[in-house]
């Protein structure tokens, strides 16, 4: 490029006329070449009805570029030859011509290919698209082979062929992929009945299912299946055997239901795994795999959540808080084209109407605020009440968990005592949200803001409950740890050192003299934690399903069938049908996922349970929604594009990472159960692997890397990077806002200018707008009258709204629309008759006065 620039400068100094003549030459040549090339196309071109613009434009562009390129090249040649005669350059052109032609052709082929790939984005009729497509394909087909020459030709043809194959493969793969997306039709059905917002919950559920399937694959493929296939069988070790005292009842359903007995001593829980370094003939390093899988579950989940958040953020270029287009958006985007059900459509119509009315009222009363003190007081009161509720529920859970610990020490406790924690937590989760909703009615927020508050409060409730539960559990764990020390000594003496041989190296374990069922063993706090989480999850599943069954299905049946013989209309009156609670369901799903993340380290089988749950949930909830719910009376925005739920998920993920990381890093693992038994800390397994399995220098490198002197600067660097990127994004945001403001200002300015220009006689225009059919004949008369009005008012055409007008109607009705309201129509009609019958000067004034400012503001004049 710059070379060409230099040359052209030289050229400018020297031979201006020469250049011109040469250009003419090229042009001619170009034309000739083109003619020759296009002869092939001629027939096709004739067949085409209308040559499309794009193609022409691109051709023109090509012409220009090739011309320039040619000039450059010939100039080079000219320099080489040191001659300026046009004849010589002309002759040298002969050989470069074909090259140029080829380049041009290539470019054109590329152009056509681009056209083919973007054909579907063109707003043309299908017939036209098809014909243009065929043409482009033919063109590419025809000239693709001709490109390249000599040795390059074959390679080029090969490349083209591969590219074609690749495109075909991609398309087939794409077809295959869309076929693999499950539940597409099911979701579509829900969507057509309930609109996009309810369907967004099911799409979220499906996404969640996909994530859990990956986690399930990781855990089952890398931990559970190797252990089952290659690990020591059941009954070979104390940790893999049900203790003698429990054996009599280990198969009872009531025991299994509490995840005790055989389930407790199975591969579903942490305690089952052996601390043998390698298992089976594969020398599979199970403890290492267990640890890495536990970490990679969090890693994968974090990655997926953040990636989808980023994608959402990228997709939504729109900033929802832009309130420049309230009415426009309401008008053009409020209808959900997905709706295909008359009932939903009715609701949608109603909700659109209310939303229009609401925003009209908002417009009219935007600065009316009555009794702000009362409202403030009510809001504070509501928040105090809700905080009380939260604290109360937190305390209740703490109390119950503490009590359950004393229960667990007692013998033969009842069913209720054993399941008290889960029952209380489920009941709290069931009754607190409606309570919050009732309290929130005090606050009188806008429904959308109200929904956010409500979600935040439920979130706080769940989170508080979960963390209280964790704290209580932690107490429990600490107690167990103390207990363990005692047991450890007993075991030690019982086994007389036999046990010690199994720790450490991978020599075969000498069988203890005792039967594994008789060995005294520690409480194994990890399994206890795992069992707690599994029980919580299962009871959560049950409560959810029962709620759906009773709260939705039975209620719907009752309303439907008892309605025939009841005193009032059940369908329209009190119980009516249930609505699908999107936000509650999404929150439930998010919390459930948090529990899975927290529990999966200590209960690898938990993810399997969750996959089953999501699978059944998909079918069950789809069925429940279609059979017993009614569409929302108030339709909320679809949550698919906004990141609110994803943000909640990320928060939960982070919060569930904390306790797991804490236990891994700072609690000693149990001495006689689990893959890390015998180690001081769980992460020692990595050190062990590095020391024993890797060459020495890796260990060295690792020890260098793990040096705090390196880690602290690395963290510092990351923090600084985050700070810098944050600052950059802030700056961009500011620039964006600035630009937006500028655009807005420009627009306003333009409007003002036009207004001033156009409104030499705004009133006339306005009247004409109003009375188009009838005024034509009377316009001269009216014009005169208008002039009179203006002169009488004696002000510029664009005026501030008069006081009388403010009194007459609300200020916001003062747009041009005010002229269309019935009262104004009445008075508009009045002057007309006056004008026709008795146009005397004094009369129009009282009528004309309120009319004056109307057009000015309607035409975009800002309110001063």
């Amino acid at each position: 490029e710059d070379k060409e620039g230099d040359e052209s400068k030289e050229e400018d100094n020297g031979s201006q006329p020469n250049r011109a003549s040469r250009r003419k030459n090229y042009q001619r040549k170009n034309r000739d070449g083109k003619k020759a090339r296009e002869e092939g196309n001629q027939k096709k071109d004739r067949g085409k009805t209308a040559p499309n613009k794009d193609q022409k434009e691109s051709e023109n562009k090509e012409k220009k570029t090739t011309k320039r390129g040619k000039e450059g090249e010939t100039k080079q040649k000219k320099d080489r030859k040191n001659s300026t005669s046009s004849a010589s350059s002309n002759s040298s052109d002969e050989e470069s011509l074909s090259e140029e032609e080829l380049a041009m052709l290539k470019e054109q082929v590329e152009q056509k290919k681009k056209l083919i790939s973007t054909m579907r984005n063109k707003p043309w009729r299908m017939v036209k698209k098809l014909s243009v497509l065929r043409e482009a394909q033919n063109f590419v087909e025809k000239f693709e082979g001709a490109l390249g020459k000599g040795k390059g030709k074959k390679l080029y043809a090969y490349k083209m062929m591969m590219a074609k194959k690749w495109v075909k493969f991609k398309r087939d793969f794409e077809n295959f992929k869309t076929q693999c997306i499950p539940w597409e039709m099911k979701i579509k059905e829900v969507e057509s009945h309930f609109g996009s917002s309810v369907a967004s919950y099911f799409i979220f559920l499906r996404w969640m299912y996909g994530v859990n399937l990956v986690l399930f694959g990781l855990i089952f493929g890398l931990v559970i299946i190797p252990e089952v296939l290659m690990g020591m069988p059941y009954g070979s070790l104390p940790r893999k055997t049900v203790p003698r005292a429990e054996q009599a009842t280990a198969m009872d359903f009531s025991v299994l239901w509490d995840f005790e007995g055989y389930i407790k001593y199975s591969a579903l829980f942490y305690g089952y795994y052996n601390n043998q370094r390698t298992i089976g003939w594969l020398k599979y390093r199970l403890p290492m795999a267990y640890f890495m899988v536990g970490i990679s579950i969090f890693g994968y989940s974090l990655m997926v959540v953040i990636r989808s958040m980023a994608r959402n953020a990228n997709e939504s270029t729109a900033d929802g808080d832009d309130d420049n287009f309230i009415f426009s958006w309401k008008m053009f985007t409020s209808w959900d084209y997905l709706i295909g059900n008359p009932e939903t459509a009715d609701n949608k119509f109603a909700s659109i109407t209310t939303s229009f009315k609401e925003s009209i009222v908002d417009e009219q009363e935007s600065n009316k605020d009555e009794n702000i003190h009362l409202r403030r007081f009510l809001r504070v009161l509501a928040n105090v009440l809700i905080i009380c509720c939260l604290c109360g529920s937190g305390y209740l859970i703490y109390f119950v968990v503490k009590r359950s610990q004393t229960f667990s020490k007692m013998q033969n406790v009842g069913w209720y005592e054993r399941n008290e924690v889960e029952i209380v937590m489920s009941l709290l989760g069931m009754f607190c949200p409606p309570l919050f909703e009732t309290i929130a009615a005090l606050e009188n927020y806008h429904p959308r803001i109200g929904l956010k508050w409500q979600l935040g409060r439920i979130f706080a409730l769940f989170l508080g409950n979960l963390y209280t539960f964790l704290l209580a559990l932690m107490d429990d764990v600490n107690e167990k740890l103390a207990e363990e020390d005692v047991v450890k000594n007993i075991t030690h003496w019982t086994l007389l050192g036999h046990h010690n041989s199994s720790a450490g190296n991978d020599s075969t374990v000498t069988p203890p003299p005792l039967d594994p069922a008789d060995v005294p063993r520690g409480p194994c706090w990890e399994t206890t934690v795992g069992i707690e989480f599994v029980r919580l999850t299962v009871s959560d599943i049950l409560v959810t399903y029962i709620t759906i069954l009773v709260g939705d299905f039975i209620r719907a049946c009752f309303v439907r069938f008892v309605n025939y013989c009841w005193c009032w209309d059940l369908e329209a009156g009190f119980p009516s049908y249930a609505e699908f609670d999107i936000s509650g369901n999404v929150l439930g799903l998010v919390f459930n996922q948090g529990m899975i993340w927290m529990g999966s380290f200590y209960a690898p089988g938990l993810v399997g349970i969750n996959v089953l749950r999501l699978l059944t949930s998909m079918y069950f909830q789809c069925w429940a929604v279609m059979s017993s719910n009614v569409p929302h009376a108030r339709v909320f925005k679809a949550s698919k594009s906004n990141n609110f739920y994803m943000g909640l998920l990320l928060l939960i993920l982070f919060l569930s990472l904390l306790p797991v990381a804490y236990t891994i890093m700072s609690l000693p693992p149990s001495f006689d159960c689990g893959p890390f038994s015998g180690k001081k800390r769980m992460y020692d397994v990595i050190q062990e692997t590095i020391e024993l399995d890797f060459p020495l220098f890796v260990a060295k490198i690792f020890s260098y890397v793990a040096n705090p002197g390196l880690i602290i600067p690395a963290i510092l660097l990351m923090v600084l990077t985050i700070y810098y990127l944050n600052a950059v994004s802030k700056a961009y945001q500011r620039a964006n806002a600035e630009l937006k403001k500028k655009m807005q200002m420009q627009r306003e300015e333009e409007k003002n200018k036009r207004n001033n220009k156009a409104s030499t006689n705004p009133m006339l225009q306005d009247l004409e707008d109003l009375l188009t059919p009838s005024t034509k004949t009377e316009s001269p008369l009216k014009q005169a009258e208008d002039k009179k009005i203006e002169s009488l008012n004696g002000t510029s055409p664009v005026r501030k709204p008069g006081r009388g007008e403010v009194l007459a109607g609300s200020p916001m009705a003062g747009g041009r629309g005010a002229a269309f309201t019935p009262p104004s129509q009445v008075f508009v009609a009045q002057p007309r008759t006056l004008g026709v019958r008795a146009p005397y000067p004094g009369q129009p004034r009282p009528w004309g006065h309120p009319l004056g400012p109307v057009p000015g503001r309607g035409r975009g004049q800002p309110c001063y």
Partner: protein, 187 residues
């Protein structure tokens, strides 16, 4: 995948896949949906491109469209002669534009055409009034309707000619948070 279908030739299918946002299977499904509207009219062999047109009454009775207040406009915009009667090509076109994959600009272009009731390439006040009345089933009073229309023009009319041009419309709609999610029909 089975090549048993004899409705289209392979080239036709490829061309349709290039021209729409549908996969092969979806195109076949759409064809069957189209055919189900009038099995006696639509032949099972489309390889020689029969000129079959289905009347609007049939198109508008599809469950995907029958509750849509703008169904007539949609059919008119996508039909060849603007009368709502559709060939298979028009039908594919329509659902391609309304599919999830279609880009914002394309959707905005067709949305503009749909809301432009009198086909004058501007959305003027009468178009807006029609839109509001269709959206609310004439529940709003005339004053409210005209107030809403005024506000829309005030908000979106950048060049201040009292009506919305395509550029105005695109400028406004591209920022709308739920335009993409609502202006689509899943089939």
């Amino acid at each position: 995948m089975g090549n048993k279908q004899t409705i289209f030739t392979q080239e036709q299918l490829d061309a349709y896949q290039d021209c729409t946002f549908f996969t092969r299977k979806e195109i076949l499904r759409l064809f069957h949906r189209y055919r189900d509207l009038a099995p006696q009219l639509v032949p099972l062999d489309y390889s020689d491109k029969p000129a079959v047109t289905l009347p609007y009454e049939l198109i508008g009775s599809m469950p995907e469209l029958k509750d849509n207040p703008f169904r007539q406009r949609i059919a008119e915009v996508f039909s060849e002669h603007g009368d709502g009667n559709m060939t298979l090509d028009d039908f594919l076109d329509m659902f391609s534009v309304l599919s999830e994959m279609a880009p914002r600009d394309l959707k905005a272009y067709y949305a503009f055409k749909i809301y432009d009731f009198n086909n004058d390439d501007y959305i003027c006040k009468s178009d807006l009034e029609k839109t509001v009345n269709k959206l609310t089933r004439n529940e709003l009073t005339p004053e409210e309707v005209s107030l809403v229309c005024e506000k829309v023009i005030y908000e979106a009319d950048a060049d201040n000619d009292g009506k919305l041009s395509l550029a105005d419309f695109q400028h406004m709609i591209i920022r709308a948070p739920d335009f993409l999610s609502t202006f689509h029909i899943r089939i």
